[in-house]
Symmetry: D2
Subunit: 445 residues, 4 copies
């Protein structure tokens, strides 16, 4: 999960890209970057850290030009390098290009291996670099044709944006697994972004979602744009965008993320059969579902866990072992509210189970007498190779334990998940979804 943005035909292209990245900061805090094309060359600024730390009026001003693309990189577990920040710039036989990517290519290793055998060198660990090499090696004349040829060799869930001297190419994968929306700026320019929440801040007007398998080609100074349908698969947006990734105020494929989450909570409530005093969300991830849950059952919602938003990246470790310290840095249950109460805790997902176990431990210490846990999605039994850097089978608790065993591990009084069918019907039966984490159907081949 990352965020990408592209802007064209705006004198403030890089500034709008910056605002959009700021609005989509939740999709990645590890690194950010923006490339701007001024018709002559492409300049790029990228670094580790949050958007607000990397950009300032001075360096943003140096990113002049009417085309800009930007990227927020998701925090990954391993040791990452500045070389893995995006956009990736390349000088090729046909000129300068810069590329951003949100998604994951499932055949990345095979393609990389093939390209390396052909003499390609890789300066990053990013699968994004594959596409640049494929474009560069294509025998086609036109950049568009090179790009199409390259894309046909990239299997996976992805959104790409490519800036050249005077064009912006926007591509969404065959199934439309990752979201991508098109909007129009107040100054007449176009903006394309991973989430519609990016449009609100800059008063861009939502036009439509980019279609699954569609490529859009914008030309500098030209208000018309070309649309090419590269693939014709049945769309399957990633269900996790609704469940967890997206900001609640974004609209994905016409559906409000907030309303979908409420519906997930409502569906969860329908099958929940424990007696409780009130509903407690894990802030902020479980709030929307908890509201739906609470409204359906007409049982009060209480913000009985308080979140500290000042938590930064590094923190001084406790000198003696304070229990559950890292969770407590963020979350504090209120014993005054919880004392001797029977509650249900709502969260959006349960991955490794370790954080849930700690939260339940904190709630017990705060005096709650019964703690039920209800998760607003199904059991996660398979790694999501269409997202990015998901846990392995070994780490996924539901891939290794049944519900009863998980309940015991996390020490909950009861544990409720949605079924896959309940998930799908809650989002809406009218279309298909990418559900790999739940059903292991790795449909992109």
């Amino acid at each position: 999960m990352c965020a990408i943005v592209g802007v064209i035909n705006s004198k403030n292209a890089s500034t709008y890209a910056y605002y959009a990245l700021f609005a989509m900061q939740h999709r990645g805090q590890e690194a950010s970057g923006i490339s701007a094309s001024d018709g002559k060359g492409i300049k790029t600024i990228k670094a580790k850290g949050e958007v607000n730390q990397i950009f300032n009026p001075l360096n943003l001003k140096s990113l002049n030009g009417e085309i800009a693309i930007g990227h927020n990189r998701y925090s990954t577990a391993g040791n990452s390098s500045i070389d893995d920040a995006q956009p990736i710039y390349a000088n090729c036989s046909f000129g300068d290009i810069s590329l951003v990517h949100n998604g994951n290519l499932v055949n990345k290793n095979e393609v990389r291996e093939f390209l390396m055998q052909c003499g390609a060198i890789f300066q990053t660990n990013l699968d994004t670099e594959n596409l640049i090499h494929l474009i560069a090696r294509s025998k086609e004349q036109d950049l568009k044709d090179r790009l199409i040829e390259g894309l046909k060799k990239c299997i996976g869930a992805y959104c790409f944006m490519l800036a050249s001297k005077d064009k912006l190419y926007v591509i969404r994968d065959a199934y439309g697994v990752r979201p991508l929306s098109l909007g129009r700026l107040k100054d007449g320019g176009y903006i394309i972004a991973s989430e519609t929440c990016a449009f609100d801040l800059i008063e861009a007007e939502f036009i439509r979602d980019v279609k699954a398998g569609e490529m859009l080609i914008f030309t500098q100074g030209n208000d018309n744009f070309e649309s090419i349908q590269l693939f014709n698969e049945k769309p399957r947006i990633c269900a996790f965008e609704y469940i967890y990734f997206a900001r609640p105020d974004s609209i994905i494929e016409g559906k409000s993320v907030y309303e979908v989450r409420k519906k997930l909570g409502e569906t969860l409530a329908k099958k929940f059969d424990q007696k409780i005093d009130f509903v407690v969300p894990v802030p902020d991830s479980g709030v929307s579902a908890a509201i739906g849950f609470s409204q359906y059952l007409k049982i009060p919602l209480e913000m009985a866990i308080v979140r500290n938003h000042y938590v930064g990246r590094t923190f001084i470790e406790p000198t003696e072992e304070l229990r559950n310290f890292k969770v407590k840095l963020k979350l504090n249950p209120m014993s005054k509210v919880l004392k001797d109460k029977e509650i249900v805790v709502i969260d959006d997902s349960l991955v490794r189970g370790t954080t849930s176990k700690k939260i339940i431990s904190l709630l017990r210490a705060a005096g709650a007498s019964k703690i039920h846990l209800a998760i607003a999605c199904p059991e996660i039994k398979f790694p999501d190779i269409y997202g990015i850097d998901t846990p392995t089978f070994e780490e996924l608790i539901s891939a290794n334990k049944n519900i009863k065993q998980v309940k015991e591990f996390i020490d909950a009084d009861s544990l409720t998940f949605l079924s896959i069918d309940e998930l799908v019907s809650s989002i809406g039966n009218e279309r298909s979804y990418s559900l790999v984490s739940f059903d292991g159907d790795y449909f992109i081949k």
Copy 2:
């Protein structure tokens, strides 16, 4: 409003002070500092910025010793200097001392003037410096007597903590306007902090609140502490601590801040007579009251305004005038949810009216058909000189307009405040409160 903390009899005194300041970061983000006393001298580290930015394992380690005091400074409008960060250290005839202060001395100018006439020099703009001079000039032998003499000349709402070579002095003002609580650390040391939320992170046990007019004297290595009742006024805790300042998970004078805020929302609901589809809190300030409001009326709560928590201190200004840009950086209303709805917006207070006006403007643009505003406190008609840096009469909208005029200014369909009586009865009739912002009763003279 600032945060203060004191620790004694712990080998990790400065580390515990650091954690406590982190937990109380909401009370001030402009500057922070910690002094530690190791029985020989006092070392101080202070700087502008947040706790997490200022301290690191290395500099925290240099603050060794079993006594520590710390301070978070509230962000003020004017241009502040590093010299105005606390603690303030002084080398005096009776040794080194260091002082932190939360509150405001109403006679600060008179005392400062008097002290300067006597030859005192002031190196900061802080009223805190007054007390150090008074202590230094006292003819008493003992530091305790010097301190008491000095305090008797300081009129205002304050909590002070003073660290010396081997003692920690803790004082709460005559009326107990500012909160202060005493706890015990797991390693046997004592901790005193502005809010009890600081205790939770470090698993300190709450012992009791420091009493209005009480001075506590702790001696390094001694598990007993002395309590002296300096003043005997009827306690009047600042109502704003419940309304706005404190974290919802803190307990002030035995009352859960979260529960008081819910009660304020409930009281507001009782008098609210408009027809609405749902209740919308201004996040995060209005959430607790909105829950109480919603529960009482059995009208759904919707998180229809989403908050972006990544907003930092500096931000690149929009190149063209985007409407309500600064508010939108933090708050985004969801048009999908709000479209054609009649809503009530709940906030904790209404000061200048400018932010509320912008929020309502955003909500209208998002499609809400009727927007009622309900404020979970009375009209603020008087500057709170017992807090710090409050707006002037000219800036306080309710000091200059009646409710109808304010309603028109902010363009709400209706506007509801609590009365002072409703505020008091919601917190609890059993005791008195400092209500200066509402009734103008400047009782500390």
Copy 3:
């Protein structure tokens, strides 16, 4: 040894102060600061580090006003605090003042003790703070009279500059131990600085040295200035200014520092009786004397030790013990030049002997067959309490060993010092000097 500067009647007062501090950076790299007075108040910026790191166009612009004073703080061994940076600002009964100080008050502890007994508090470790307290406590009406009364109680070697709302007071101590010169800026303003090298960069015209015991009073907007002779002692400029402290291109009391150093080398050459192949200076401290030495004896000078000027403040320690590593970081002898040669090494002074010992060790390793050491000043036998932070008796090698013993300790083939008489006659017999480090005549009482 520190650097101070004052500017008045210039629209660019703080910028000129900045340039002057930059030119005098050699007198102190630990901290710097500038105060500017704009007729209403005084603003101060100070921090640890070098001038170039602390100031930028933005913060310098905020130091507006036509009066500015500045300070470079000398690097001291112990752990210093930001609180010990200058200028020191104070708000007093008679208004804002800001003070800078170069020198040392020998009765600082007594005065501080006295002031503390009177109730003064000290927020720094600087003796500079004494004078502010004395001014503040004076019963005189006028700031000038307060200042004079305060100065009469300060015994020591000092230069002070004090900025008020509209005046700049400049004081040199009774004996003129520390240097101070007056110049005129191209825009008509005045500048007063520790060394004349500060004038060259900004094309200020040297007017004259401030006299020993003289106070100058400048008034904003007034081209005339008042001169008051506070003391009438026989002037005794510190000989170390010529030997070591000052930049060679400065003129002190009419004498070129470079030419004095050459003369010291020449006098040293006259008594030097060893056979040598060439003369090697320790760069950069011994270069001027080595030129004089070489010219007198007509023996070639060779820059056989190369200095690395990139050495910063912190450095990564060698993983295994490399011999004389810290000296080698700065100084590298050329074995190609030194192999089998008999040389004399010239340095400006010999304090602890440890560095000289290491340099000689490096020169031997580089192949020099005989290494004579000649020091262009007498043996340092007494701490210089009129400077700042000089080594103690225990640390001064010549206070504890005779020349033969020192020669053996540092492993030189011979060791030559100047006598005190030779030092004095080399600088010039026509006046007296402060020679405390050599003769222990602590004449300021």
Copy 4:
């Protein structure tokens, strides 16, 4: 001109590389980087700035492994990007490699163009990237053979070092234009560096220079190394290494740089026929030659221009136009010494003439009555395309003006250059030199 270093068979490989880069900081202050290979993978840290600013004990520790290569990048005029810092890392079909380069490839554009036509993408502006692509595209199996094939296609003056999983490849160009020396560390490892001054700090023993056209192959854990003579041209070391680039304490091809520079000064003195009072070097560039000049003529040397070594990268511009400000920031002539004197100023080279013009202007203002300029090298009439980023024909004053015209432009009373023959005979007639800047013989084709 850059600096490179390679270390193998040392547990502290990256630390030694760091020290060596520090010692060679004069060859480039714009950016630095180190790659370390631990037998599994290669880690790289690189950034803009000086070595001391980029590396710290923590990040250096992360560069573990017994092979390390490092690079200092020379400050270039244009706006440079972090992407242009070295080493350049690449993941290829045959594993990870990392590469550093000092020099310039004259056919870089042709090779880059060819490679791009083959589908290669370039992520930097560095010609270094060419070699990586050539290696990657080679059909040879072995890395050594790939490297040799690539090198045969690179025409220019270069030193390369390539680190792989377990090998270090070191190559000096066919003519040996750029210097490169081999040494042995105290712990038994090998070190290869651009200059021998790097060996002195870490007590490495000089073994021999790498030969022109030689490739050395070191294998991790193996004390023997392989030497392959790739090319058999007559060596032509760059004369500018002696004249300007190298540190005076380095030994290049058996000759002391310091002694060569003295000899250049001596040769200059032989043809100098003006009457002068003394010799003045431009510090630090002209000092060595001035010593030789002075010794030959037995005319005194005076350090009459003082250099301020605190000059950093950025500086606050003067508010009004101070004449020759940027030169004065570094250099200050002493009027006390220069007044009414006839002098010769010695510098190592004269490129654009602008700085010399300003220095002469400053010396005249300081009172010198006659100012002769003597340059310790011939007229620079051709861009040095074997170095890096040299001025164009248009910028080189001697490419556009004869000596008389240059003398008039810089306003000197006389101007003396060495002839090319004098340059060559001063360094030593026994071998050939690269003299492109002087004779335009671009012999590498």
